[in-house]
């Protein structure tokens, strides 16, 4: 019973995961309001569990949606494997967030019901953002995702860094939304359509007769996406926002928000503008090169681990831009695989940051990691696994992901871009390994204790993430084919646009 969008109820079927999660988020909000006596009281400990149930329900709905198969390419709601796969990534990130944040938020007096609700709504936004095939819906998804995340960045009201980060993020984010909207308007003006497949038909083969208005619109869209994925030179907000946001939220932003923006970026550029590939290809390549090189170079001198991870997330945006530049089934598949892997290893690394940071996130500098491996061996080992994976070392998922990206680039003939990618990774070895050397090569300050024991949730998250990183590094096979199959459905084309097909 594949919905063909002839009846309004079909939209309810196509949007089932989003609807389930939104409704559940409202339920959680109501439960929280009715349980709390006064505003100042912390929310009940049951709220995070409730939110977790919502994530599971949405994942179930997503699985059910996957059984329906691939829908018409012209629909406003994409019914394809790409969306299903991306939805899993967002839900996984949300799940990780819930597990690693419980004790942290309690200790920082931030156990607020609305915080969990905002995370759920942001996840809904991501799913709409990445799963729509119409520019208007994509914009709605973008806002639905961004507004909760602005609030989440500033949720720690006692911390001036949090306020600063949130303000910067909000101002620049609003600015970028304006760019995006202008792009939508220009593209609509040039092609008379907001539906991606209709735009593709209007643009035509090889972009013949592309008007300046259309090109301007494409450029504006790229700027809007560039802000959201934190590509250099649109990355200025990132380190401040990540540093200011509480660590679990920073991890959620680094993993899920970026993945959502990239998924939409790929969907728009690969399905609406394949005819203009020769035009935007150079932009994607240069954006990737600049992002990879400059983010890695800045991260070299960063002594604060949370900020270092922020720059590392910018660098990873550069790697993912390589997937965009490759603009092929392989490119889209490598993006899907890498975004999943990146979510796992980043959430893992942020979980370690939470375990080390202590109250008020006092211990964020490298010095706090001195001798960590010998004081708390398990924590040291899992952090080393995450660092090696972020750096892209064999037997970790990060390596397979990076090889996938490189493969997509090389098979597209972008060998030089692949070379830049590996050289940028080489630079990144330095700052990832520096954390490892603080942990293992240095001894702790004599007076420093072992720090508090991580909460059970944190332990579960760390173990899960480490096992997944290693398992996907050793036996990635099934997931690789799933990613390829999912990506292939993104690039299926309506009959009228055959000839625009990218490899």
């Amino acid at each position: 019973m594949m919905p063909d969008f002839s009846h309004p109820a079909d939209y309810a079927i196509a949007l089932l995961p989003e609807i389930v999660l939104s409704v559940w988020a409202m339920v959680v909000l109501l439960v929280d309001v009715f349980q709390k006596g006064s505003r100042s009281e912390p929310s009940s400990a049951v709220i995070p569990w409730l939110a977790g149930v919502g994530v599971l329900l949405a994942a179930g709905a997503n699985t059910w949606l996957a059984t329906l198969g691939t829908g018409p390419a012209s629909a406003a709601i994409a019914m394809d494997g790409f969306r299903i796969f991306a939805n899993y990534v967002f839900l996984l990130a949300a799940g990780f967030f819930l597990i690693i944040s419980t004790r942290y938020l309690e200790e920082e007096h931030m156990r607020l019901g609305e915080l969990y609700v905002l995370v759920l709504f942001a996840t809904v936004g991501m799913m709409v953002f990445a799963g729509s095939a119409d520019l208007m819906l994509i914009f709605i998804g973008l806002e639905l995702m961004s507004v909760p995340v602005y609030v989440l960045t500033g949720v720690n009201r006692r911390d001036v860094r949090s306020a600063e980060g949130a303000l910067k993020y909000f101002l620049l984010g609003a600015f970028s939304s304006a760019f995006f909207l202008l792009g939508v308007a220009l593209v609509f003006g040039a092609t008379g359509a907001t539906n991606l497949s209709e735009i593709a038909i209007a643009v035509g083969v090889d972009g013949i007769g592309a008007s300046p208005m259309l090109l301007m619109g494409v450029a504006m869209l790229a700027v809007g996406f560039g802000f959201k994925v934190a590509a250099v030179p649109f990355h200025m907000w990132t380190p401040d926002a990540y540093e200011g946001a509480p660590a679990p939220i920073a991890g959620f932003m680094a993993a899920a928000v970026k993945a959502a923006a990239f998924a939409a970026f790929l969907r728009v550029f690969l399905t609406a503008f394949p005819g203009l590939y020769d035009t935007w290809n150079a932009m994607a390549v240069w954006l990737a090169v600049i992002t990879m090189i400059s983010a890695n170079l800045i991260a070299l001198v960063e002594g604060n681990v949370k900020r270092m991870l922020a720059y590392s997330s910018i660098a990873h945006a550069g790697y993912l831009l390589v997937a965009l530049a490759a603009a092929s089934v392989l490119g889209a598949a490598s993006f899907l695989f890498y975004s999943l892997v990146y979510t796992i290893m980043t959430m893992g690394a942020f979980a370690v940051v939470i375990a080390v940071a202590g109250r008020q996130e006092a211990n964020l500098d490298l010095e706090s990691y001195a001798g960590l491996g010998w004081k708390r061996p398990l924590l040291g080992i899992v952090m080393t696994v995450f660092l090696l994976s972020l750096a892209g070392f064999p037997l970790t998922a990060g390596f397979i992901g990076k090889v996938f990206l490189l493969r997509a680039a090389v098979e597209r003939g972008l060998v030089l871009l692949a070379v830049v990618l590996v050289l940028a990774s080489l630079v990144s070895y330095w700052y990832y390994l520096r954390v490892a050397w603080y942990m293992w090569f240095r001894d702790a300050e004599p007076g420093a204790g072992a720090g508090p024991e991580p909460s059970t949730g944190l332990k579960v998250a760390l173990a899960t993430a480490a096992v997944l990183v290693l398992a996907l590094g050793v036996a990635p096979g099934p997931l690789l084919s799933l990613a390829e199959q999912s990506a292939a459905t993104l690039l299926r084309v309506p009959a009228a646009t055959v000839g625009l097909l990218l490899p």
Binding site: T70, D80, G81, S328, V329, L330, A333, W374, L388, F393, P394, L395, V403, L406, R407, V410, E411, R412, G413, V415, A418, V419, V422, L423, S425, L426, Y429, W430, L433, R434, W437, W440, F441, A475, P476, G477, P478, L480, S481, E484, Q485, A487, A488, T489, L491, R492, V493, P494, A495, L501, P503
Partner: protein, 531 residues
Amino acid sequence: MIGLLQSIGYPDWVLNALLLVPVIGMAALLAGVGGRPRTVALVIAVAELAISLPLWFAFNPAAAGMQFAAEFAWIPEWGIHYRVGMDGISLMLVLLTTAILPIALLGSYNYITNRERTFYAMMLLLEAGIIGVFVAMDLFLFFMFWEIMLVPMYFIIGIWGGQRRIYAAIKFFLYTAFGSLLMLVGILYLFFKYRALTGDLSFAYADLLQVPLTFGEQYWLFGAFALAFAIKVPIFPFHTWLPDAHVEAPTPGSVVLAAVLLKMGAYGFLRFLLPFFPHAATHPTIVMTMLVLGLIGIIYAAWVAAVQPDAKKLIAYTSVAHMGFVVLGVFALTVRGLQGAMVVMLSHGLSTGALFLLLGMLYERRHTRLIADFGGLATVAPMFGAAFVFTALASIGLPGTSGFVGEFLALLGTFETHPWVAIIGTTGVIFAAYYMLPMVQRIWFNSLDNPANRDLPDLSRRELAVLAPLIAGMLWLGLYPKPVLERMEPTLSALVRTVEQRSGPALSFEIEIADPIDTPAVEGRAGGGQP
């Protein structure tokens, strides 16, 4: 003997066992198996040696191809298989590895006192990685071993090293990774070419070897692979990581680093560079460049070694000089030259490994490595002195020792194709005496004027037991190298033939391959989405 081995299926499982046993040992150590970690590690290393020794008999010396092959699908979605095999080149290097490891562990039995468990786990992981590099017959698998081996070495240098250990560890890591990352792009390019040609996905050595490449592609790919290997060998001017890493590493680390790790680069030359890119590898300019770099390595390293006040650093530089002979032998592109290169590698593994062990023993006694702190030690520790002097002489190529056979063959092979290079290279043998003999003189002879040296204990039984096999090996290779040479001959002759045939002008290497962008293979394989 062969019948017995075959009856237990030895050829089928031996390589898998060689890779698995150290990993199991590592896991056991980290899991906290009882007994002192050093004992556990030694038992594992000896077991590994015992498993590998029958290879010598089971190996068919007449065959040039891969023996003891094993294969199973690992990531079939990308055509990645676990494929291992062994020819005459791998055989010698694997045996060298399995022989050196127990010696390195026993030789430094008392050297590592803190965090023993982790240290020995790292050593075993290192052994698995090195053996993996020598037997992998799938380029993805090869790259994995090649890279993964950096991690234990990084920790060995960084945690148990000397004063400047962090600097040395990170420098070692970044230098080596730099080359290998470019090689990764090269491997993926070959993979992509193979797919464009056949439509199949494969990382198999035998498959990628068949990929026809244009001249231009050969040069670029040669560059990418050669850089990775040249850094590892190391060839001048990529050698600067070596003195730091060797000097800062703890004794067992230095021994494995010098005796086995450096061979991985030269192995890469033989296994990949020559057969994959024969046009580039036989191009006169490239050959001459490599030979000159080898010569510079030989002579420059000898001069630098001569002025080192630190004995360990001196030995570290001699490694660069020895590896220069290997480069000469390899790029002479004659069977004799290749044999010489192989023997120099084996000989260097034995003699330099022994020298690092001896210096480690000296360091354990006196906690200094400065040549000036010693003098006249031969009178208080005669056995120690005799072992040291013999090893030093073997290292500089005294006739009757392994060093002589190797350098002689390498130079002879070079002389056949490049006489002048060989003649200049011969001066390196003289310079070797110039750096080694004064050091020996100042440590072991001269007058015993430092009172701290007066009651230096002689070699213990354990130390003798460690050195004896190394010295026996040097003598054996020096006096009767025939069994070793004849086991490598068919492989090396086949290699030279392959290079000659494939670089011949008759073959057309200009087959144009379809433009990558037009390759339609993707949609067919991804499946499912076609309307």
